[in-house]
């Protein structure tokens, strides 16, 4: 399998089909991060599409000093900011938060509430902390990759993540709804014991 850099070289030498492979590799990641920023599928689809087209047009400027994914992320971030600037939308709405949750069982409703509580707290975090948190938690990226995407030193990326987690811990700890949720069988002590570090020797 060719690396991103090899595919980029192919595109630069005129093989446009290689770009489709690059799109396929990174479309899901980009779509997910933009949907998280916009919480709007239509807007996210437009932004991601524009970002890939811009990337193609500027591919000659890509020098491979960062990964293609983090370069794409920067383009998508700027495109998102411009889009919001044009529409005078200052904040990201949370109206669509429940879109994915269907069903009316009590546990589902609790899950929706819990998600909302957590997401509202996450949305209150400063941008850079939120970015570090969501890239780590939802995309499972290493701090090295996060630092590259955020264009900051490794330790700064990690510090942003730590601060985010600490703030959320402080704010969510006293929440009764979360306690109830935690006390459901799937969060029983047995489960905690098997998933956490073995402390019994």
């Amino acid at each position: 399998m060719k690396t991103d850099l090899e595919l980029i070289q192919d595109v630069k030498s005129g093989i446009k089909a290689a770009f489709e492979e690059l799109v396929q590799r990174h479309e899901k990641f980009l779509m997910k991060v933009v949907v998280r920023m916009t919480r709007d599928l239509d807007a996210a689809e437009d932004i991601v599409q524009d970002s890939f087209i811009k990337a193609f047009r500027r591919l000659h400027l890509f020098e491979g000093r960062s990964s293609f994914r983090s370069w794409l992320y920067q383009i998508a971030l700027n495109t998102t900011r411009n889009r919001f600037r044009k529409t005078n939308r200052e904040t990201i709405g949370t109206d669509h938060l429940d879109i994915a949750v269907e069903g009316e069982s009590e546990s589902n409703l609790i899950a929706v509430d819990v998600r909302n509580v957590i997401q509202k707290e996450v949305d209150k975090l400063p941008d850079r902390q939120k970015t570090a948190l969501s890239l780590r938690i939802f995309e499972d990226l290493s701090f090295k990759e996060i630092a590259e995407i955020m264009q900051c030193p490794y330790d700064t990326a990690k510090a942003n993540y730590r601060h985010a987690l600490l703030k959320l811990k402080e704010r969510l700890e006293g929440n009764l709804m979360l306690k109830t949720w935690t006390e459901q069988p799937r969060f029983s002590l047995m489960e905690l014991a098997t998933n956490s570090v073995e402390v019994d020797g």
Partner: protein, 114 residues
């Protein structure tokens, strides 16, 4: 272990993220074994991370269906676009230093010549 202030929350976060210096791993495992307070602290971060993972705002959003359409649109859009080439860097030409005005020579005064 006390001098390392291992009770600091940052240690637990690093431990949870597998980002801790391996030399310190054993110390933290010991703390988990012997200190209920530390165990609670670590568990609260572990649970928080789990909550966050499960509260992904876009989990289940139908993004897959859109990806193929988007990819087709992208390929159509670039079909007519030529692959841009890196502009050839022109050699830097230093501007010529402004000509300093040479003092006009006096017409030779031949009167003093022998």
């Amino acid at each position: 272990m006390d001098e390392l202030s291992l009770s600091d929350d940052w240690w637990w976060i690093d431990f949870l993220e597998d980002e801790l210096d391996p030399m310190l791993d054993n110390d933290l495992v010991m703390l988990l074994e012997h200190s209920g307070e530390d165990r609670e602290s670590f568990e609260s971060f572990r649970l928080l991370k789990q909550w966050l993972k499960e509260s992904d705002p876009i989990e289940g959003w139908p993004i897959e269906a859109r990806l193929e359409r988007m990819r087709n649109n992208i390929m159509l859009a670039i079909e007519e676009t030529p692959v841009a080439e890196r502009p050839v860097e022109k050699p830097v030409v230093k501007p010529l230093a402004p000509k300093t005005k040479q003092p006009s020579r006096r017409p030779l005064d031949n009167s003093a010549s022998p």
